[in-house]
Symmetry: C2
Subunit: 273 residues, 2 copies
């Protein structure tokens, strides 16, 4: 499944060097976030890197696309210099679409999204802009991986996340990600030495018990901030929730066919009158 880029990279001829994979990097925290800068650093070890990422934070944007507004795209220059970077006014999914259909001269060999500042395991996968960018890659049948670190703090340490990203990118390029699938990788908080290993998991079934904090604006009108707590009733030890709580990196293969096949026979027994 997929051409082994590692083999090509181990050779020293110019011809083979030209086969370095084209890697598209995006995220949802914005192009200047520390997480994406970490991911770009790792990506440059593996191939030619192009970045199309939001010009402002887009957390929680899910699979949103911009249909009722215009999109702006601006070339930017950051370190390292050899990376081509564009900031986009839209959502993470807009970034992927613009990259594939407008910016890149050829289809990317790999799409990397993140490293997100905060968890995207369990049900968070459907709210997450980071993972929606990876899912959009899977729709386009581009091998895609989303990375998230379980640390929201502004001084989060990305050392372990970078090490994990390096290992998983290497394995993905060597083996090829199954067609129309992307990987949802979540990394526990802490130093590299605290990580117990990498586990392939299923998406844990949990939901957010939301709590809307009411506040008053200067004119006395009420508005709300969304907050909440993850309610996990899923006691399985094969979930991403369990893996992360027990010090493992979770890798969930993600697909985008939402059909509930198990429910089709039941629905076919209904009478519609």
């Amino acid at each position: 499944m997929g051409f082994s880029y590692l083999w090509a990279m181990s050779k020293d001829s110019k011809d083979l060097q030209a086969k370095r994979p084209l890697i598209l990097v995006t995220n949802d925290d914005g192009i200047t976030a520390r997480g994406i800068r970490s991911l770009i650093e790792v990506a440059t070890e593996f191939g030619e890197v192009w970045v199309v990422a939001p010009d402002s934070p887009q957390s929680g944007m899910g699979h949103a696309i911009t249909v009722n507004n215009i999109l702006r795209l601006r070339e930017e220059h950051h370190e390292p210099e050899e990376v081509h970077e564009y900031a986009c006014s839209g959502t993470p999914v807009d970034c992927v679409k613009l990259a594939v259909y407008r910016v890149l001269k050829q289809r990317p060999d790999l799409l990397l999204s993140g490293i997100n500042h905060g968890a995207n395991n369990s049900i968070n996968v459907i709210y997450s802009g980071t993972m929606s960018a990876a899912v959009e890659g899977a729709v386009e049948n581009i091998p895609s991986i989303g990375f998230s670190l379980l640390d929201h703090s502004s001084d989060a340490d990305f050392t372990a996340a970078r090490e994990v990203a390096r290992k998983i990118i290497r394995a993905a390029l060597a083996n090829g990600i199954p067609n129309h699938t992307c990987l949802n990788v979540n990394i526990p908080k802490g130093p590299p030495s605290s990580i117990k290993g990498i586990r392939v998991c299923r998406q844990g079934q949990a939901f957010w018990e939301d709590n809307f904090m009411p506040r008053k604006d200067p004119s006395g009108k009420i508005y709300y901030w969304i907050t909440g707590e993850l309610n996990n009733q899923d006691k399985g030890k094969d979930t991403d929730i369990w893996a992360l709580e027990n010090g493992y990196v979770s890798v969930v293969p993600v697909q985008f066919d939402l059909t509930a096949y198990h429910a089709m026979a039941t629905l076919n027994s209904w009478e519609y009158e």
Copy 2:
């Protein structure tokens, strides 16, 4: 699966009347759109109706939630008078969360989203605000149905869509929707007589070939509008795409566990070094 509300509704005692289902209605085209007004009209035939819907169009918002901004909620009065209505500044998913955790005094028995102005079959399910509201209902284990009419025009005829919605709501209340599943219902354009029937389908596998139309603003800077065409390589006759092209209403049961179970064994064979 689920208490049969139809039975209760056929009785005439006040006691049973009190068991009329509580129905939450939302959409992504905004609270004044003709589609949601049609759906509210049908919903009042079945139960007590509460509406929490966006105050402006939210098409293409996918599963976005508002985490970086405040949310406003405003009570409104429309016809019919007995319906409780709230306009919300957020996305369709915000509307469902606000309704469940802030507005409603009890959990809704049924969530209806739509009727969307335009198709939400195939891959559109992941971009659609209408369907994301229904999926959010499924996450909360509320029986949920999203309706979409394959007609974008402002003078679209919702007669057939209302008839279909009536049939499917009746069947859903009588049979109960399977747990953690919602229905994605798409209705072909045309008069009721042109509809050949209702088909339970799987989500057709297609993707958007995007085309970004460049334009210049008054200062000469380029911006883009997203456009595109659905590329369908899926020739199955069991897909929603096939059903709609052949004059049938498509009903796809939708779930939110994105795990690609078929890929887990492959990923477990990888070496991470």
